[in-house]
């Protein structure tokens, strides 16, 4: 099975591990991520403004390329996932935005949100299936207590992301179970790490990421996993706790369990 793949800037740079382990694991699980040609940065944040058009076109372009290839579009980075899904929903549901965007794009055939956007975790859950994933695990991570960190962008806005219950998600916990590890539930798994504020106001980022890590540590997590490079950065760099919890990308855990980490 082949998916169109939108890696995003960070995965080409600071978050190469997130990308590399995802591709290795995909091959082991029997699907292929085929990178889109000439994709452009999604902008990291989807503007909530109705009259902001131009900055959203790179996403529309990516969505339309996947449509041309007739494939579902897979992303890994939480931010790219959030931006692409929101842009797609606007192209499908916001007639005014869609008209403006299509006018700019000058496509042969207008784009109206036909592409299905999937996060890699959704591919694991809905295409591969967690039972099949469990069966493919070579090194079960038995006994490892893993706290999944969703952050904001994977789940919210829930009506657009359509990934899981935004207040009590299960997808990462089910994923962790499939790898043979034990998921650790903690209340801050869907609270903000501080995000991009790390650049301008590191003190605020420190406050927020510390609260997240403390909450995971409080529930005795051995490690935390995330899908977001910025969350990983904030937790590793800005969280200040007594017991520093290691943070890694969920794909690294996946590759390890599948025995393809190399």
């Amino acid at each position: 099975m082949i998916f169109s793949y939108y890696p995003g800037c960070t995965l080409k740079n600071k978050a190469q591990d997130l990308d590399r382990y995802a591709r290795l694991s995909a091959e082991a699980l029997g699907f292929t991520l085929e990178e889109l040609d000439e994709w452009q940065c999604c902008g990291g944040a989807y503007s909530m403004a109705k009259d902001e058009i131009a900055s959203k076109l790179s996403s529309v372009r990516a969505l339309n390329s996947a449509k041309a290839q007739g494939r579902d579009l897979v992303t890994l980075c939480s931010a790219c996932h959030n931006v692409l899904k929101q842009a797609n929903a606007d192209m499908a549901g916001d007639a005014e935005f869609s008209l403006h965007a299509n006018n700019y794009m000058q496509l042969d055939e207008p784009y109206h949100g036909e592409t299905k956007v999937l996060h890699y975790l959704e591919v694991l859950r809905d295409v591969v299936g967690f039972d099949a994933l469990k069966a493919a695990v070579k090194n079960p991570l038995t006994g490892k207590k893993v706290a999944s960190y969703y952050g904001c962008l994977l789940l919210r806005p829930g009506k657009v992301m359509q990934m899981d219950n935004p207040e009590n998600p299960q997808i990462m916990e089910d994923f962790i179970r499939a790898l043979g590890a034990t998921p650790v539930l903690y209340p801050y798994r869907n609270e903000c790490c501080g995000g991009y504020i790390a650049m301008e106001d590191p003190a605020l980022a420190q406050k927020k990421s510390t609260a997240v890590m403390e909450s995971a540590a409080d529930m005795q997590a051995d490690c935390m996993v995330t899908a977001c490079p910025l969350c990983l950065y904030n937790l590793q760099k800005n969280a200040v706790t007594n017991s520093q919890v290691p943070v890694l990308y969920f794909t690294e855990l996946l590759a390890e369990a599948l025995g393809v980490k190399g």
Binding site: K159, N165, E167, N168, P187, M219, Q220
Partner: protein
Amino acid sequence: MQRIGVFVCWCGSNIAGTVDVAAVAEALSHEPGVVYSTNYQYMCSEAGQNIIKDAIKEQQLTGVVICSCSPRMHEATFRKTAAAAGLNPYMVEIANIREQCSWIHKDMPTATEKAIILGRAAIAKVQLNAPLIAGESPVTKRALVIGGGIAGIQTALDIAEAGFEVDIVEKQPTIGGKMTQLDKTFPTLDCAACILTPKMVDCAQNENINIFAYSEVQEVKGFVGNFTAKIKKKARFVDPNKCTGCGECTEKCPMKKIPNEFNLGMDNRRAIYIPFAQAVPKIATIDPDHCNMLKNGKCGLCAKVCGAGAIDYKQKDEIVERQYGAIVVATGYNPIKLDKFDEFGYSLSPDVVTSLEFERLTNAAGPTSGTLLRPSDGKHPHTLVFVQCVGSRDTSGCGKPYCSKICCMYTAKHAMLVREKYPDTEVYVFYIDVRTPGKNFDEFYRRAVEEYGVHYIKGMVGKVAPRADGKLMVQASDLISNEQLHIEADMVVLAAAIEPDKTARSLGTMLTASMDTNDFFTEAHPKLRPVESPTAGIFLSGVCQGPKDIPETVSQASAAAAKVIGLLAKNKLTGNPCVATSDEMMCNGCSSCEKVCPYGAITYQDKEFRMPDRTVAIRRVASVNEAVCQGCGACTVACPSGAMDLKGFSNSQIMAEVDAICKM
């Protein structure tokens, strides 16, 4: 050709002040068929009615047109007048020249012209009127009450007291409903069980009341005065005539770990159980999903210990068919599920509970015998946070758009009782608005604040984060001090919105009783007919019609009972003769009318017809049950072949009115 009399009313100056009534009477006297036309100050007065009666007799009138107020006001009056003079009452038509003319116009020539046109339309209609005779149907003098909570109980008791038979159908093994689960009741703090259980016993002892507990209404047919219901009595696997309710079986049953619904799953019951000590009827019930004997034939312990020999593993569901004159819906409510509100941590911590669960935790018959203990570790909580409006007034799609109405008061009650019993506690209530408009309600809430020191904070909770040490970190806003608060709580109590019972929707379809988008039953008129469904013979009692507390529920229950008694007191019901009728020769059997009929009055039957060539053909044609039809006319519009018509409002009559109005 009809001989029509026209009577133009002044209504004092109400009409005559704007309409030249003499000119109207004069103009209408030239209309075809009009043999008499006059005007008078008050047509509805005795003198006015005598003018009409005399004219009918002297002029041998066959039709009467009254130009006066809305037919809502005096149509019935004038019909009686006509009948007294020997004219069929349905030969009377009203032209509304008050509400639809004089009251809304200022200019006399315009208003007069319009009044003439309205009168002309009524005359055109009456030309085509035919005498109608209202049918009669008998009344079965028994009522069905669906739902055995406090609403159903009160309605049943009142109807029974008036001397009529009542059946209560309750789906749980006992009657009593939600009120059995409550601890104290606001605003007087009487114990719920103490005031409810005597009423439950009254039901059981009243000769006129028949309780079908652990039963469901499966099918309802018929119409006002003549309903037939099929009631499924679910198998209890216990003979109700032998079981003494001693409880021996419920102590010996080896299946001990079944979540107890009565305590909302906070403790366990056995596979054979009696929901609570005061259950009515006090009969054991075997839960077939958990009983080993029923599942795989291994056990039989309850049969061994039952001294009365009441256990019957072979018992089957039983269907009972009964006739009723009236049906009361009293299906009640449930708190909503909180799976879309996990920001409050309901599924993360057992110490985050709903208000109904909190009732059980403070109830002497509850899982903690009335001592307030945290579900997680059984410790005494010191800091409690109550959150109001959880899922109420929510238009985001997660909750309910309406106010659940009861939460402000029960939360004040909970907060007050906690502070009274455990003075070492700190109690916070987060509210958006405090709504306490009942008698002695606001005083009650203020007592919680002023005498019991409950901290009422204007704001909402945004997040409840349970910590490993069992503390619940509550993050909330205090809008008055403009702060974000962080409270370390031991328990959080969520005032979950209430919603109609899940069975209401299918019951509404079964009864052809209309509902709103929230699945509350709609009343016939929101102010003036609040306990009747628009469907004749169906009455509403309690929360099934809208959120309400116990005092209001009981009032409505008694009001519904009064309406039922009024109906059952009649020996015969006079129908409305303005009902739909199908021209069988034109009907093509398409079912369009049946689909739009809101009352289920239309059925189809195969009938033999003689064809022109003397053969006989069988055709499917619509037939209207005149006792069920309410004369709404939906079918006449839906019918593609023009076969359906409404007596008294036929298509030709309405077209004649339109023609008369358009005639220059």
